[in-house]
Symmetry: C2
Subunit: 253 residues, 2 copies
């Protein structure tokens, strides 16, 4: 019996023309047939947002053996919903977001469109990964990630993932010492606003900020791994229930 | 010693003029001083999205003893970031989102701007609640929620919440049989796109869909509670790490 070629759906939040997604495609092509459905322009910080009040459309940009590329007017999550619900003729075997230009470790998982893609894939019951590099510049160098991306993706294709779990994979810049499986770092964004007064009015601001890590010093967090030169894989569940707190809350009500 | 009056920061994703937030303010006023920082128009389906590429501004709409109301050009999460980082002179004691016109139970927690507010508050270490009603119409009746909203809020003001946990509270329409502390329902959105061809081009769609619940029939989920006439409180953690999978994943890599 012929072995089925995996169908890999790829998206991102930096837009279909970003370097990161095109490097990702290059890394993944040996592993399966690729369909790209990515936003037509940058959607950084999209989280799991939806458009709701306007229609979403897509357009085919290119087609060649083993790869088709579409751009989409919607959010990263809508790229996944649209590909799976209106474009692909079968369910993908794997959904991959990235490679994001910028760090999505720690609490950034909540704001990340790259992880929105992985969360959406996971909610659909499809093994899903978000890849990010700690360099937000448009010309960032992704070359050193190739073997790691292919290895991690191959492992997920081979073993799958638990039903409600996806992977948040973040890479440091420069040489990678190895891979650590991590916990989501604890910390807070602070000094989040830079004033940009308009016509003398002070109430205009750019979002900015500095992430203050408040992890226990146990070397387990994704932030720690990245700061120490390791790639960080944080297994991420879409079930946000705080089970241990359920009984205590019942008593208080 | 005089007891400090709680400072309650209120926001929503339906916009500052929606009925739901104004009913929420009415319910909460007896419990503390209220500051409202809410989007200047509807931002449904915002999740934890950020604007990033444009500045965010705010404007004071009204001020009276015990209550100040601002509108904001940003997303629900940015309303919280802006109020805490650039407007309020002290940290709020409580952050409340809602009352949303529409159900945010189950996997909707990921797409919800109302829960984006609660998640952001929680990430800042502040006890936070998102309230939603299973009626998305602009004129929805919120009157029957008053005692429940006040009770739940009072409990959180009194006891606080665990450091990385917020509450996702959803109310059914009509008579409420009681309150259940729940787990996030398992299920999937299906048939998510309604075609809306434009000038004969078939590649335009409205986001739509139907939530297919695949819960085990154990009466524990928020979807179950709502379908059976109960208010559902789902304690929701912002730590998305899948701890049980960490060791297994290490072996596979």
């Amino acid at each position: 019996m012929e072995k089925k070629i995996p169908l890999i759906l790829v998206s991102n939040d930096d837009g279909v023309h970003a370097k990161g997604i095109n490097e990702l495609i290059r890394f993944l092509r040996p592993l399966g047939n690729i369909v790209v459905m990515a936003p037509d322009s940058a959607r950084s910080g999209s989280g799991c947002a939806l458009s709701i009040t306007r229609p979403v459309s897509y357009e085919q940009l290119s087609e060649e053996p083993g790869m088709t590329v579409y751009s989409c007017s919607g959010t990263p999550v809508e790229c996944i919903k649209l590909a799976c619900g209106a474009v692909l003729d079968r369910e993908p075997d794997l959904i991959v977001g990235g490679i994001n230009h910028g760090d999505n470790s720690g609490t950034n998982v909540h704001y990340s469109g790259t992880m929105g893609i992985a969360i959406e894939g996971c909610l659909k019951g499809i093994p899903s990964i978000g890849f990010s590099l700690c360099d937000h510049t448009p010309g960032a160098d992704f070359g050193h990630l190739e073997a790691h991306v292919r290895h991690i993706t191959s492992v997920v294709l081979q073993y799958g993932l638990p039903a409600r779990t996806c992977l948040n994979v973040n890479f440091p810049c420069g040489k990678i010492k190895g891979i650590k499986v991590c916990e989501q770092a604890v910390g807070q964004w602070q000094r989040e606003w830079d004033p940009c007064p308009r016509k003398g009015e002070a109430n205009y601001f750019w979002l900015s900020g500095e992430f203050i890590n408040t992890d226990p010093a146990n070397g387990k967090s994704d932030n720690w791994a990245l700061a120490n030169g390791y790639a960080a894989i944080t297994p991420t569940t879409v079930d946000m229930t705080d089970y241990p707190f359920i009984d205590q809350l019942k008593e208080r009500l």
